[in-house]
């Protein structure tokens, strides 16, 4: 194991699935979206776009292999923890920037190509917007009541920690490295004993906001199959809201165990195993859902395909999707929208409330990370 740090092994375990997911993203997006550009149903299979998809996939995988090789070469086990984190950041950021550039090239080329297609005139001239009035009566998410257990667990952990305050050691471990060794510790106080409880509460807030983004995001109707696309979308939203509640619960459990770890007398190894199991479950779960459902539910097969469901004309909204990634529409009161390239939801950058929520989430996540 001389050449490999434990951290490398773990990170590779995380990177490989993430790289694969990135490479296969064009297959997960809606049938009507190609690199952030709206195209008619069926066009995505045509050779021009198929070539772009293949190129993007191969470049993502190739860059991914370089990324992993770079980690082996540049990150030496004898280097300091700080060196390691700098190298990891540099490698990961360059990977993200490079794959983004690969995406942008395809996005711009397909956007230009679209304007020369025979179907362009009729699709682009339409400014029609179609919505299903009954959509919000469907059960698109689970109830928020499912987040009550999360809150109860945190409350119990806080109560238990305060009651057993004197059993905590005088120096509390605050940071671990990948091998489970303590790298930073602080003096004991009520505040520091409950650090992870505060963090749990912050995480629960982030999960609830994400839940609301699923419930509130704009409906998307595919012009060729209005009824079916919405049916698939209900399953898509519901499944992700279930996953989110479970993932949130696991994260809370992890933090609570972390807070109580000085009392549990578990070996650092046991604890690392639990951390990686939970991270693994969340990672695998999200990959499984992404692949099985596709963006917006587009990879689902409808059980009751009502054929003869009339196609409708729908505006492509391309002019509001900057680079095919950022939805900017000042006239739209929507805060949350479904992503075009990728799986999940994003915000309407034209809406000040959306900015406030994003800044709020960043503050919730970053402030504890900086000050605790």
């Amino acid at each position: 194991m001389g050449l490999m740090t434990g951290a490398n092994l773990v990170l590779i375990g995380i990177f490989i699935p993430v790289i694969l997911l990135m490479a296969f993203t064009p297959y997960l997006t809606r049938r009507t979206e190609a690199f952030g550009v709206t195209v008619p149903d069926g066009v995505k299979q045509q050779s021009y776009i198929a070539r772009h998809i293949k190129r993007y996939m191969l470049l993502c995988l190739g860059l991914g292999i370089i990324l992993i090789a770079a980690m082996f070469i540049l990150i030496k086990p004898e280097g300091s923890e700080q060196d390691h984190s700098i190298w990891y950041s540099v490698i990961i950021v360059s990977y993200l920037v490079l794959t983004f550039l690969v995406y942008i090239v395809s996005h711009l080329q397909i956007k230009a190509w679209k304007q020369q297609q025979p179907w362009y005139e009729e699709t682009s001239s339409s400014q029609k917007i179609v919505v299903q009035t009954g959509f919000h009566k469907e059960k698109t998410t689970i109830s928020l009541v499912w987040y009550v257990p999360h809150i109860i667990v945190v409350a119990l952990a806080m109560g238990y920690s305060i009651i057993h305050y004197d059993k905590f050691p005088e120096l509390l471990p605050m940071q671990y490295d990948f091998n489970g060794e303590v790298t930073r510790a602080v003096e004991k106080s009520i505040g520091s004993v409950l650090t992870l409880s505060w963090l749990s509460i912050a995480m629960i807030i982030v999960f609830i906001i994400s839940h609301l983004s699923i419930a509130r995001s704009k409906q998307v109707i595919e012009s060729q199959d209005p009824h079916g696309s919405l049916q698939r979308n209900v399953i898509f939203r519901y499944s992700w809201s279930v996953f989110l509640a479970i993932a949130g619960f696991l994260v809370v459990i992890l933090m609570v165990l972390g807070q109580l770890s000085p009392l549990l007398e578990w070996s650092s190894n046991t604890f690392m195993v639990i951390v990686f199991t939970i991270v693994g479950i969340i990672l695998l779960g999200s990959i499984l859902l992404s692949v099985k459902l596709g963006q917006g539910g587009s990879r689902l097969k409808n059980s009751d395909t009502k054929q003869g469901d009339a196609a409708v004309e729908v505006a492509d909204l391309d002019q509001h999707w900057k680079l095919g990634i950022f939805y900017v529409n000042r006239n739209d009161p929507a805060i949350f929208v479904e992503k075009r390239f990728g799986v999940g939801w994003s915000i309407n950058y034209g809406n000040p409330i959306a900015w406030l929520i994003t800044i709020g989430i960043l503050a919730i996540v970053l402030i504890p990370a900086i000050f605790l």
């Binding site: 400014q127 029609k128 917007i129 179609v130 919505v131 299903q132 009035t133 009954g134 959509f135 919000h136 009566k137 509130r216 704009k218 409906q219 109707i221 209005p226 409708v312 505006a315 909204l317 529409n329 006239n331 739209d332 009161p333 929507a334 805060i335």
Partner: protein, 129 residues
Amino acid sequence: MLLSIDLQSETPIYTQIAESIIEGIARGELAKGEGLPSVRALAVDLGVNLHTVNKAYQLLKQEGYVQINRKQGVVIEPNAFPKADELFKRRQAERMKPIIAEAICRGMTQEQIRELFYEVHESLQPRQQ
């Protein structure tokens, strides 16, 4: 029902929303007492201002097609819609005037105009399952 608006049309959006909902009622796609999306939800889905949707709902309420309750939100009038009384008929006649006038200018006969009316009426009948 599928509610459709056209951002390029000269007809104001709130009018389009209201007319689309009345069409849905005529076709039987919206049942009496059926709930409509909240102002916010419909505005978000359509990508239009909240006031626009609110105006459409107020218009529908004025005409007696929906009820706006605090609890259930906006629902299609559960009881009878207002009768087509003399006043209503006179107003409709007034609204038809420019439509028929235009048709006459273009040389349509009464028979042809009548046919067109039948056609539109037919298209607003409940769809057969």
